[in-house]
Amino acid sequence: MKRVRIANGQGFWGDSVDAPIHLIAGGPIDYLGLDYLAEVTLSIMMRQKLRNPQAGYATDFIDFIRRALPDLVAKNVRVVTNAGGLNPKACREKIFEVARSLGISGFKVGVVEGDDLLARLPELVARGHALKNMDSGEPVASVLDRVTSANAYIGARPVAEALDGGALIVLCGRVTDTALALGPLVHEYGWAADDWHRLAAGTICGHILECGAQATGGNFTRFWEVPDLWNVGYPIAEVETSGEFVVTKHPGSGGMVTVDTVSEQLVYEMGDPSSYLTPDVAADFTSIRLAQEGTDRVRVAGIRGKPRTPFLKVSASYLDGYKAAGQVTVSGPRAIDKARLAAEIVWKRLERAGVTFAETNRVTELLGVSGVLPGILAAPADPPEVVLRLAVRDNDRGKVDRFGKEIAPLVTAGPPGVTGFAGGRPKAQEVVAYWPALLAREEVESRLEVSVEAI
């Protein structure tokens, strides 16, 4: 029976640079999904592209290609990634350049475009698309002059189309993480656009894979049960034509695949389990059946789906003021009292200088005494040391920078035992905030473009 082996070697922007290499070397896989975009990464790429028209994609991916291209071509491991960012065609040119330098040719790279809506926003708003913030309900018009990127999440169809065209590597921008798995399955099995149950199965497969090692023992509650977590194998799904699949990992790698590790990943960032919405389908997580069918092998079956919605999610980013954070370590007797005094000193000195922050725009955390989970974990009454962390946010950059100058004086003009102030004054950073919205899907889908080119 035919099985398609899909792996994920990059769960997020900043994940292990070696994981995809080990997936290619550690055993047979057919497809490798790689996610390089966090929610606001495209905003950073937009600025890079404005400075340099050849920039605006994930440069980490080029480092990967330089290491892996000979094996990808030799083993015909096909890569699907969002590394194209805002400039997938420039990314393709760079890949071809790397290929030429390695003396490799005879493969194709596909590019999916049409997710970038930034230039179209004013026109979309003018035609009555409010693009209301899904959290606050505000229309995007209220921040239109501060928007730095706007991209629609696209689904598996264009990915499949690029693979149909023979692409060894498919470069997308803002594609859903789940489409990195579902795209190859639609290509391999030809699942119809209204085959809701199978599309849901491929989507849930993508959800299990999308955070890399979180399916195979990473971030698992009972960490002491996980063997060789340092050498954790990233997840692989063996998918059958019915949509049933087995989650596994390469033999010899660390970590583990159990019903428990897969369950934890299924409930990760799940929302309403009966209706997990993607551009392709509404997947029903309450239909999933899990069974351990062998060591490091979990079978996933029974998945049902419902029709997709008429909307696509849009992920926009906008400038929302400035922020800065600074911290010191406070050690010795009465560390908590000293840390509290140090915080009070900073806020009072700023107030004396005429610099005040709204209560919601400043944070005082005592780390080491349940500062991250206040009121939940019992903290020791007199710990030997605590970390004092202060942070502020404001639309006035000057105020935020002024805050940064008030941390260092604590060392000499504060309580005793204050140390660990390294790295200079905290500087104001722009806050690039996230704006999730919905848009009628035909506005995007009518303009999607897939191109496949060979070298």
Binding site: E39, V40, M134, D135, Q214, N219, F220, T221, R222, D260, S263, E264, Q265, L266, V267, Y268, E269, M270, G271, D272, P273, S274, F285, T286, S287, I288, R289, L290, G302, D320, K323, A325, N361, R362, V363, E365, L367, G371, V372, L373, P374, G375, I376, L377, R389, A391, V392, R393, V431, V432, A433, Y434, P436
Partner: protein, 115 residues
């Protein structure tokens, strides 16, 4: 004759495991029981109201609860819990990554035969 059920007060970590992350300014906490019998205990005991009280100093909004019996799981959305969420937040845990671990500290009465 009335049957006396013996129970012990234990942290949730004795009968379940959890994982959390962010959904905008809400944190998403998934709680998975270690057996069907234990699922019935968490379904009965770990109500949205109790979770709201447990996270009183973290969660400023409402708590939504979803049941996922096929996975022996409950899924919670803790609204307004991340100081604005994502990049805008000033908190160390701007993504709610520790909230699952925090939920496992909740104490509840569990029949002794399930421990």
């Amino acid at each position: 004759m009335a049957r006396v059920a013996l129970t012990a007060r234990v942290p949730l970590s004795r009968i379940a495991h959890a994982r959390s992350g962010d959904k905008g300014d809400a944190s998403n906490v998934g709680l998975v029981a270690d057996s069907a019998a234990r699922y019935e205990v968490i379904r009965r005991e770990v109500t949205a109201e109790r979770v709201k009280v447990h996270f009183a100093q973290v969660c400023r909004g409402r708590v939504e609860r979803f049941e996922v019996p096929n996975l022996l799981a409950l899924n919670f959305l803790l609204h307004d819990s991340l100081g604005g969420g994502g990049t805008a937040s000033l908190l160390t845990d701007a993504q709610g990554k520790t909230h699952g671990q925090g939920l496992l500290e909740m104490e509840l009465d569990v029949p002794e035969e399930l421990l």
